[in-house]
Subunit: 237 residues, 2 copies
């Protein structure tokens, strides 16, 4: 999965392993030219490996001095993952309960989000997403049914992203996400088994493929007592 089989990536994996198995923070790595000789690759290839490791926060570089092991990180940068992956990475078992699955007229709002005519049908899926059986968020997803014919038959506990990718070849490449703080209305509170007016995240997300075509639009309400965001933010270069 994460292996690209390129020399740069193999070197990156190797160096990451070496660092992981006992190199102290701020200890110096061999010079780029040394690594190039030792691993019989060009210096550019070494640099590509180190570039990525630097971006991941594994090492830092000081011009004229060298490349050094960075202090271990608590937080990872926000990544684009499905709810399922997200929960598993937190050590929770993801689940899902389907409330609604129907086609409705897109209307102005969802038509614009999915770049289809307002008169066209869109597929509306409403699910309660659970973690270890406990309700975590209420999610309304809108899709273009022309692109995913018969999708509802495949929706089980499997990740929606996985179904879209494996059965329809729709790979999500990036997404725009907007995060608002809110409180739970009485109805949402009941569905989420939480007190009314308790804090919540209201998140909208539009997902796109590599050609920038919108794949999915989703509105999610998260219980804030169970969910928060961790970001690692880099200074503009």
């Amino acid at each position: 999965m994460s292996s690209q089989e390129t020399k740069a990536d193999l070197l990156r994996q190797h160096l990451a392993g070496v660092i992981d198995q006992g190199l102290e923070p701020h200890s110096k790595l061999p010079a780029e030219r040394e690594l190039a000789t030792e691993f019989e690759v060009s210096r550019l290839t070494v640099r590509r490996a180190l570039d990525r490791m630097e971006q991941e926060g594994l090492v830092y570089r000081v011009q004229g001095a060298g490349t050094f092991v960075a202090a271990p990180r608590i937080t990872k940068s926000v990544e684009l993952t499905s709810f399922s992956e997200d929960m598993r990475s937190r050590g929770l078992e993801p689940g899902s309960r389907l409330l609604i699955g129907e086609t409705v007229a897109a209307g102005a709002r969802y038509g614009a989000k999915l770049q289809v005519s307002p008169a066209q049908d869109v597929l509306h899926i409403r699910r309660v997403r659970t973690a270890d059986g406990e309700p975590m968020c209420l999610e309304d997803t809108y899709l273009n049914p022309a692109r995913f014919p018969g999708l509802m038959q495949h929706i089980g506990n499997e990740s929606l992203y996985r179904v879209m990718e494996t059965r329809y070849g729709a790979r999500i490449e990036w997404a725009e996400q907007s995060i608002h703080a809110s409180v739970l209305g009485p109805q949402d509170a009941e569905i989420l088994h939480a007190p009314a007016f308790s804090p919540a995240f209201f998140v909208t997300r539009t997902s796109f493929d590599t050609m920038d075509r919108p794949i999915e639009y989703a509105e999610s309400t998260y219980r804030a007592d169970r969910y928060h965001y961790e970001l690692r933010i880099q200074r503009n270069r």
Copy 2:
């Protein structure tokens, strides 16, 4: 500022300008080898320029086919900026009202965040941050006074980040940020001129320099009616 004066960066700026001034989304850019010939640089230099443009979401590439103009973006990726820069980028005039500025014992919590002994003093600054005169957030900042002697004399309406960088040479390179949804307590509500129990973001941030030394720890409470987060998230490669 944003110009690195490298050939790759000059080419990037030039291409960004060309795209900005009227190229339609999905129109094809010249091949990398063509660009290299035309601008009399090597192909690798062209690729570095395009790499960055791809990361910024200006173009996308399809192997075997070419490089294409991406659809315009609404959202920018989260960037590490000061409150002042952040507000200016939203077209608002940032302001600040100092409530507290004193040294206190670090204690376990802030000592750990700033990697100093719990018995050592830390500088605690509490400010109401305003946008166009309206309270936007309540911010408690903790700093190591040994690193910023006499800091309080320089705090005016100038950005704290600017003071730290210009007067103390402390340049923040990255930060870990944790975002929680919450509601305003009565006291915070009064300070922020908002109704009690209205939605709010509670954000903690630890800022580091290039050597991964903690510079600043801050806890901020934002009025959610005036603030939200826009993220652009990229798929893991």
